[in-house]
Symmetry: C2
């Protein structure tokens, strides 16, 4: 079994400047592991390219785990929950108490993510971030102070285990599709309505109201976000989103490939990419959500989702489903026999084929 390379430092950044410095010295993919994965591929007993995106996933996992062949044994799932001041604006069909109630449901094993983790043999941990203290209503003030943002970011950073083969990220927070839409709109511009979706089920006037709330908030912080994309998270995001960004950064330093979940999770990671191109290269989009802004966001990030099942639950559900694909991809790459080992004939030589075709 190949040894894992020594990991870089694992302390969370203590200031925005330190996050910037961490982004400036991100570890890249392991070129040797990636090369070995690519070199093995054409020898495996299948026509070239016949496993499609599974081939790419096995190479990606090798590159970012820093070993060949990549292994997916320990799948760590981290779900972050927080409350949002902006729910005072009436942007959700569900009351804010549901966030804490769902965290209790996670703890008792009754939520969708619990069942999907069991089915995928994945290890779930949920972190509730100051549920009794929602972020500020960002139509009136920045959602978080710098200290609050850094505390949430550090919480996510520290939630990443030292050793795991794959990290799936998820979130829960009544009101957080409003925050996600605001973060995306502030980062990428365009029409407000293109980023605003039904969330838990808004329609008609309520949906238009949500768009107005987002537009108002984004106008407030556009300049700050242009100067520092991470301010989109601090001013318009939420604690669970800051934690996700911290976890994405920690996973990069710990050589753990990441599966992102839906709209809120991807929006939480997007400011890292906006601040430093390539910052999400160790991340794959597990799925594309039914929340319409998600498809647009993935396109902006150059991410092609692995699944498209009309889901829009969050909690990491789409990421954990996709983890089974990554595990299968790595199992196929590592375990398949080569043409030589299995004594399977390769392609006929072109000349012989030409004769046959006449």
């Amino acid at each position: 079994m190949p040894a894992r390379p020594r990991r870089a430092r694992v302390l969370p950044p203590r200031s925005l400047a330190e996050i910037g410095r961490a982004l400036a010295r991100l570890p890249g993919p392991d070129a040797k592991a990636q090369m070995r994965a690519r070199a093995r591929e054409p020898h495996l007993t299948k026509p070239r390219g016949a496993l499609g995106r599974l081939e790419e996933l096995a190479h990606w996992a090798a590159a970012w785990q820093g070993r060949h062949p990549a292994r997916i044994e320990r799948i760590a799932v981290r779900v972050f929950a927080a409350n949002h001041g902006v729910v005072a604006q009436g942007v959700s069909l569900y009351p804010a108490e549901v966030t804490a109630q769902m965290v209790a449901n996670f703890a008792k094993g009754g939520a969708a993510i619990n069942q999907l983790c069991r089915a995928a043999r994945a290890e779930l941990k949920v972190a509730a971030l100051d549920l009794g203290r929602p972020t500020a209503d960002f139509t009136e003030a920045p959602a978080m102070t710098e200290a609050e943002f850094l505390a949430a970011f550090a919480r996510g950073f520290r939630a990443v285990p030292d050793r795991a083969d794959l990290l799936c990220l998820g979130e829960m927070g009544i009101g957080n599709t409003t925050a996600a839409a605001a973060v995306c709109h502030a980062l990428f511009g365009g029409r407000t309505v293109a980023w605003v979706g039904p969330g838990t089920g808004l329609t008609g006037r309520a949906l238009k109201h949500k768009a107005r709330v987002v537009a108002k908030a984004v106008a407030r912080y556009r300049q700050a976000v242009a100067a520092n994309p991470l301010d989109a998270l601090r001013c318009l995001g939420g604690r669970e989103m800051a934690a996700i960004a911290g976890a994405v950064l920690a996973a990069r330093f710990r050589r753990i490939p990441v599966l992102l979940d839906g709209y809120v999770c991807t929006a939480a990671a997007a400011p890292l990419e906006a601040a430093r191109k390539g910052a999400l290269d160790h991340c794959h989009a597990g799925h594309v959500s039914a929340e319409p802004g998600h498809r647009r966001l993935l396109a902006k990030l150059g991410q092609a989702p692995l699944l498209d099942l009309g889901m829009r639950l969050g909690e990491g559900t789409g990421a954990v489903l996709a983890a089974a694909l990554v595990r299968a991809a790595c199992a196929a790459h590592a375990g398949m026999a080569t043409f030589a080992e299995a004594k399977v004939s390769g392609r006929k030589r072109p000349r012989a084929r030409k004769r046959q075709n006449q």
Copy 2:
């Protein structure tokens, strides 16, 4: 644990007429199990519809297993292998010996499907059908006599276990994308080239040659196929394809939902649907293959594939990957707490929402 309903007779049909009679009395979905699944869904702790296609899959599994909640514990994977006389026409990049070599590779655990079954905790059995005796070259004579067709069909029928929670079907046979294209073209018409794809990797002149071979063969049997769609399988298919059709029929009588794999597997099942509308209602397309005819075929059958990963290997690989989704869907449906059990608040009442939105 709910009891499974008594199963219908499990003997394979001994004549084409008996297949016709079986198709005339196919068991339908279990309306009670389906109703119970639909009734439970809105009580589960998630916004309505938030699990997207996973919800539909759990209802589908309940309807066709005939129990609520559906359970996915035993996943049976059946792969059928056969050789094709049409390879004499030079329609594949690989020599016909590869079929037997790959069957040996399956037996030793070295193929992609072995790794994916292990990752999915699925039970794999491979049946090699008369590899030393290829079907006739269907450009010159029907691929199979009626007796040969029925023997292969029965082999597939008997390969389905009495009890399994999900059946994944797959195939291996050098030359069989040519057979699949011919079956589809004979059943559904259209332009020949729309059904003919690269298979293991044909391009340019070789691909055009493959299309000519298909067009020539289909012209020969068009009338026979119009009279009886199953003749598409007998005259233009292969033994592995007849076996798949038999397995699909057996699974219906044994109340086992089925995941189809790629182009060849779906083409093998298609004549059943052409002969009797609804005959594939207990089947789901596991994925859509990179072989271009597959997407068109799925559209003809009204099937929306679960995965779209650019795969084109066959062996049941796409079906087994999708099995993890069905298992997750059933686990979520069965295991999630209801709003009442978890004491999670439901939606706010519309009036309260309206006030907030003002």
